[in-house]
Amino acid sequence: MKTMLAIISNALCRMTGRNAGARVVVSRSFADFTPQATFDIKKCDLHRLEEGPPLKAELTRDQGLQYYRTMQTVRRMELKADQLYKQKIIRGFCHLYDGQEACAAGIEASINPTDHLITAYRAHGYTYTRGVSIKEILAELTGRKGGVAKGKGGSMHMYAPHFYGGNGIVGAQVPLGAGIALACQYQGNNQLCVTLYGDGAANQGQLFESFNMAALWKLPCIFICENNKYGMGTSVERASASIDYYKRGDFIPGIRVDGMDVLCVREATKFAADHCRSGKGPIVMELQTYRYHGHSMSDPGVSYRTREEIQEVRTKSDPISMLKERMLSNNMASVEEFKEIDVDIRKQVEEAAQFATSDPEPPLEDLCNHIFYNNPPLEVRGTNPWSKLKSVS
């Protein structure tokens, strides 16, 4: 049995030519499905580190199905958002995350719900992994009162406990993240903050100010650069004098990670979390990833990159396909099982979209509310002097 699986596995590796293949270690040979397997993962490039994350990752069947479900949910949710945007039911900014699912899923798999996370505007994936329902996300995108921010925030301004958005100003979330890490340190709660930014934001001055203070004060902050190769329409080579984003923290140690492999992301983030929690201070991670959509819904995404490039990533490095094939080729789950999960997710997303399209918009009485927190009611000037509106907290 063991030899047969090994033969099949090796053959599959040769056929697909994928170097993220697996040498299978069978824990139990009597179950229908393999309950756990160990996979080789790509070695991370290291900066100012003697050792890096492990080269093998263990995956249980349950974990695998969970990561698959998470990534597929994000994928389908984003594609639904694309659809709704084209139907003009979603308006304004909409920056989609499909292609990058392994980053959000891998990070969430390695931190605690009590840890903190902040990201930029390509935030729907993280909003989901940090606990907001598909329904509340889509309804926020469609600007309805059932949205997570009651329709007041929109795509870039969704919040949840220990999730600080969703931030519209490129790079501004990085000092915020360092500040959240300061609060963790101050309160002595052994929590940390994952602070995400893109390859475009990596050139913002405020990042370097944050790096300096985080290192100086040994803040428990994991700075993560999601390098999807393009800052809007500008490729990394055209924006950065150094595209080694994991080294840009200079005096801060860094690791460069295959961001399309959820196991790689998980192991690297675990490594980074241990680093922070042991009091060593901040660490920088670069996740090499890819977005299938353009920068936003108003960008077709093919004027600055080729369709061939996009297609190549889809076929060779899609994070969801990679995980699925790993599990299938190691007999950790069946094709039918994955299909069932897909059907279930499709149903959930469809129901959420239904809600998001039918839920009413916020009432006009809500217009001026929530300007302040825990504040007595106040009067707000409307568009003209006779329009006196009310604001409650």
């Binding site: 329709g151 000092p175 609060a183 927190y373």
Partner: protein, 347 residues
């Protein structure tokens, strides 16, 4: 001798329980008391700890509270303002000092987009209990890049409270209220007032003394004309009022204390009594605090009580020059206020 003892006893009984406290010390007391009261409160900024504060406002605090609560930052306004906002989001209550508000321009995105707007954007899910404080407006001889007044800039934005104290009671009571407020407060001090002593009542010296944000104070009652001002120029208005009183013109002087939300009701009540209004500020005229007061008076019930248009006394519409004679003529002087009052009263 018994006569001497009687004299001494009478003299001691006359000693007022009020005492003179400088604005600097009042601010220091406010921070000290709030740091002691709530362990989530902390102070960060350039030179606030070991240097005792660039203007010595935080003197003694680092010695008392240590590195955890009083944090020296590198010269990174955008970075440390953002860090302060993030800390506020995650449950702390930071006081973020800008060495002067001129430097806050480097960080203004964090003040407006990260702090001010977040409660609204999150529909009340995410509070930002932070105070941004520091000296604002003109100092003495520091020239153009170090003399700007930011009252109008910050007061323009919903989601912020903007406070501008004048005397020591204002400074202490308003800073305590600002620190206790669960929302972002921009607290505009004045460097030239730091060293000025003011009487502080016994009540004001207590640890629970706060002044509500959003309420102006009538510093001097009068019946002929209303002068509205904030910060240092409240003093100028009172000095002008003293001179004018000798000529039989009684000025009512209102100390705004808070720029946003502005206590328009107090101004309106006064104007309905005096029928004349002069605003006095150090900032530039265009789109300024005085301009806002004019608009609000026009839109409200007091307009019909005006016997003449509102007059604004402001800084001259130029970058601040260096030479003393030029600097002196760039800001409202007492004679400018007196002149404007008489013009408004047509006397």
């Amino acid at each position: 001798s018994p006569l001497f003892h009687k004299f001494l006893k009478e003299a001691l009984n006359k000693v007022p329980k009020d005492k003179c406290v400088t604005v600097r010390d009042a601010l220091n007391q406010a921070m000290d008391e709030e740091l002691e009261r709530d362990e989530r409160v902390f102070l960060l900024g350039e030179e606030v700890a070991q240097y005792d504060g660039a203007y010595k406002v935080s003197r003694g605090l680092w010695k008392k509270y240590g590195d955890k609560r009083i944090i020296d930052t590198p010269i990174s306004e955008m970075g440390f303002a953002g860090i302060a906002v993030g800390a506020a989001m995650a449950g702390l209550r930071p006081i973020c000092e800008f060495m002067t508000f001129n430097f806050s321009m480097q960080a203004i995105d964090q003040v407006i987009n990260s702090a001010a707007k977040t409660c609204y954007m999150s529909a009340g899910l995410q509070a930002v209990p932070i105070v941004f404080r520091g000296p604002n407006g003109a100092s003495a001889g520091v020239a153009a890049q170090h003399s700007q007044c930011f009252a109008a800039w910050y007061a323009h934005c919903p989601g912020l409270k903007v406070v501008s104290p004048w005397n020591s009671e204002d400074a202490k009571g308003l800073l305590k209220s600002s620190i206790r407020d669960d929302n972002p407060v921009v607290f505009l001090e004045n460097e030239l007032l730091y060293g000025v002593p003011f009487e502080m009542s016994e009540e004001a010296q207590s640890k629970d003394f706060t002044i509500p944000i959003g309420k102006a104070k009538v510093e001097r009652a009068g019946s002929h004309i209303t002068l509205v001002s904030h910060s240092r120029y409240v003093g100028h208005c009172l000095d002008a009022a003293a001179v004018l009183a000798k000529e039989g013109i009684e000025c009512e002087v209102i100390n705004l204390r808070t720029i946003r939300p502005m206590d328009v009701e107090s101004i309106e009540a006064s104007v309905m009594k005096t029928n004349h209004l002069v605003t006095v500020e150090g900032g530039w005229p265009q789109f300024g605090v005085g301009a806002e007061i004019c608009a609000r008076i026009m839109e409200g019930s007091a307009f019909n009580y005006l016997d003449s248009p509102v007059t604004r006394v402001t800084g001259v519409d130029i970058p601040m020059p260096y030479a003393k004679i030029l600097e002196d003529h760039s800001l409202p002087q007492i004679k400018d206020i007196i002149f404007s009052v008489k013009k408004t009263l047509n006397v």
